[in-house]
């Protein structure tokens, strides 16, 4: 359950952005969670309201975009999307020499404001 720490880091970062952009009314926050980021969507959504309570972000919706794992094969050069995060091999030629190109991220994608 490190999602509580992650939610706190998220809120801290958002508050800095609100101050910097002189935003008084945040409306919605969008984050991206990669399949191999180790961040649990549900746990984060559970912690977010707890951490935002009493702050300028209280009641501001958290939207989560789940990013599927994508790997690039170092043998055949093709990209594929493994069905499971524990099967890191190329969907085209089955080579295990793959590099993860998406799915590791945990990013603050956008903040909608008025």
């Amino acid at each position: 359950m490190h999602e509580l720490s992650l939610a706190m880091a998220l809120v801290e970062q958002l508050q800095e952005i609100l101050a910097q952009e002189k935003v008084s009314k945040p409306l919605a926050v969008t984050v991206a969670i990669g399949a191999l980021s180790g961040v649990d969507h549900e746990a984060l959504s559970f912690c977010y309201p707890l951490v935002t309570a009493g702050t300028s972000l209280e009641g501001v919706a958290l939207q989560v975009e789940e990013v599927r794992l994508r790997v690039r094969c170092q043998d055949c050069g093709r990209e594929s999307q493994p069905e499971e995060v524990y099967l890191l091999n190329c969907g085209a030629c089955a080579s295990a020499r793959v590099e993860v190109v998406a799915g590791r991220e945990f990013t603050l994608r956008a903040l909608e404001v008025a």
Partner: protein, 257 residues
């Protein structure tokens, strides 16, 4: 407040009924200035950007002093502390080490590790399930004396959370006790994906277990095809020479390699 755009006009959407009670009207939203002022800030920043910046500063601090740092991660009871005890006994006399230990409660591990000659610093995380770069950064100055060549960070026993936090180490090392079964790498892919080195510990217990070596190695390689896998028993000393040589080589190659 308006549920669609957050403007205040939504608040005015009630009227007093004949019975004196307020009636909520199904409101039609009017495009006001507020609506047009609605904008989206495209950010694309890492949520852990602050931790990452502190980790990068730690890495720089260590590199400036020629110190290599490793971050040991495993479930509770996989044998991190015993491995460290033996490592300090055998390695510290030739290669000055410093240790930072993270634990939720108690300084039991730190006490076990003291008296081996190397400085040992404890971070009691209390309720937190992992170490973060800020905690390490605050004690680097005191925990790592001049002349140290290898900093060993023993993370909180947990296969999930520590994997998300870069501490500024040069290498994450995952420990997996053979008593934990062969499929842990598949169940906890995030850590095993990030750790280029996996230590299979407690191999002295193998005569009592039905542990499938090939399957365990294969499971690690499914998550991390290039992983270096070492097997050892810190208790009996089996495999310790290879582990110590690995650390010596890591330090002599220089940090960051």
């Amino acid at each position: 407040m308006c549920r669609d755009c957050g403007c205040e006009t939504g608040l005015a959407q009630t009227m007093r009924g004949l019975d004196g009670r307020d009636i909520d009207l199904p409101y039609t939203h009017v495009l006001t200035e507020e609506k047009s002022a609605r904008r989206t800030l495209e950010l694309e920043t890492r949520v852990l950007a602050k931790n990452d910046a502190l980790a990068a500063a730690n890495r720089r601090w260590l590199a400036e002093r020629g110190i290599t740092a490793i971050n040991l991660i495993s479930s509770p009871g996989a044998g991190k502390t015993l491995l460290l005890e033996r490592t300090l006994e055998l390695l510290h006399p030739q290669l000055p080490c410093a240790v930072i230990v993270g634990d939720l409660q108690t300084d039991n591990d730190a006490r076990r590790l003291r008296g081996k000659g190397a400085p040992v610093h404890q971070i009691e995380t209390r309720s937190s399930c992992h170490l973060d770069a800020g905690q390490v950064s605050r004690i680097l100055d005191t925990a790592v004396p001049t002349g140290t060549r290898l900093l060993i960070i023993e993370n909180v026993g947990n296969l999930v959370c520590p994997a998300a936090f870069d501490l500024g180490e040069h290498l994450k090392i995952a420990l997996l006790a053979v008593t934990e079964g062969e499929d842990k790498p598949l169940k906890y892919p995030v850590l095993f994906h990030q750790a280029p080195v996996v230590m299979l510990t407690k191999i002295d217990l193998l005569p009592h277990l039905t542990w499938d070596r090939t399957q365990c190695h294969n499971n690690i390689r499914r998550i991390h095809p290039q992983a270096t896998i070492m097997e050892l028993s810190a208790l009996r000393g089996t495999g310790m020479a290879a582990w110590l040589q690995f650390l010596q080589d890591l330090v002599s190659r220089g940090c960051g390699s």
